[in-house]
Subunit: 201 residues, 2 copies
């Protein structure tokens, strides 16, 4: 949902408002953000009883709230905060599922600057506690989406910290990650990949 | 963290800001909200490598954002949204943990109006997928805290829908739930109860 405000800039909220933009209009993923596609996918999973996974709300630091008479409280001053965790989590077959989703316009590599230290630290913690943790990476220009287990991402992150390259080569993502087929419903069927990668032993 | 704004009303944010109110000052739980106690408890669990559980950010519908030159984006108009899930989730011993926490000043029963239909529906879904789901209930006046498995809450909720009572008697919470000992660190040690109730078979 996009808002244009007096300054002329468009602000796109992180919460998809399905009632404003009907689903049918999105067929073919034209212009949909990765987040919108994943929200629709998660909604499908919940409706079909496949998994219960939600995007966490965007963290906001609230400074000032007005309480007008006879109407809802209005937040008048607030700021975006850095997320301390990944954006998505939930349950599939009793197991804890946790992931971050990012997209790039690059065609040959995925820049590590899309992730923050807090998130990497969170992923390490989740893995230590036996959770299933990964990233969903979209190459927007190519319209290709991959699931990459967090331990690969963390390995690249650590190499970068030691002076290594600032991105993951796409060929490495193809090799260590898993291609996710795109469809109409679900749009990004990452759970079928999770099933294959983490549950088929 | 409390803000007083010109209208004279105090707004208490949902995100505890540890840097503003130092931890030491809270000893004895005097005046701490259940949320603040649980945030401190979860921080302790993460630091000690016991579990990775976070409170989700408060869901906000953002309407207008200003982008001043040379400073951070400011949210100028936003509204609180109804949460579609419970407030807390994470991972313990590989399993998905999900709960809601509420407090009451009542002494003999816990009012069901503290929960929303969305949250009850979410709890049902989580249980169907094998997640561990419960509520943490605090009787503020008595300073007693209980863990009650979600299936008990849902049973009372359904009875209420069918015209039954609008609260859970405290004696039923004592019988079906589990008393959580209060301490200094962790303040509300619910994970030791989770271990006993869900993992000791």
């Amino acid at each position: 949902m996009a808002f244009k405000y007096p300054g002329g800039r468009i602000y796109r909220t992180n919460e998809t408002n399905q009632s404003v933009r009907p689903f049918q209009a999105h067929y073919g993923n034209r212009g949909m953000t990765l987040e919108e596609d994943l929200n629709a996918t998660n909604e499908y999973y919940r409706e079909q009883g496949i998994a219960v996974i939600h995007k966490k709300p965007t963290p906001i630091q609230i400074v000032r709230v007005d309480y007008p008479k006879r109407s809802a409280a209005v937040i008048k001053e607030a700021y975006f905060k850095q997320a301390s965790t990944t954006d998505y989590n939930g349950v599939y077959r009793g197991k804890y599922i946790d992931f971050e989703a990012k997209e790039t316009k690059n065609k040959t590599s995925f820049p590590l600057k899309n992730f923050h230290e807090h998130q990497i630290h969170h992923m390490e913690q989740v893995m230590r506690h036996g959770g299933i943790c990964f990233v969903i990476l979209r190459f927007t220009t190519l319209n290709e989406v991959y699931l990459l287990d967090a331990h690969h991402l963390i390995a690249y992150w650590q190499k970068q910290q030691a002076g290594g390259r600032k991105s993951i080569p796409k060929r490495d993502i193809e090799q260590h990650g898993h291609y996710i087929a795109l469809g109409y419903q679900p749009r990004i069927d990452y759970i079928s990949v999770v099933e294959k990668v983490y549950f088929s032993h």
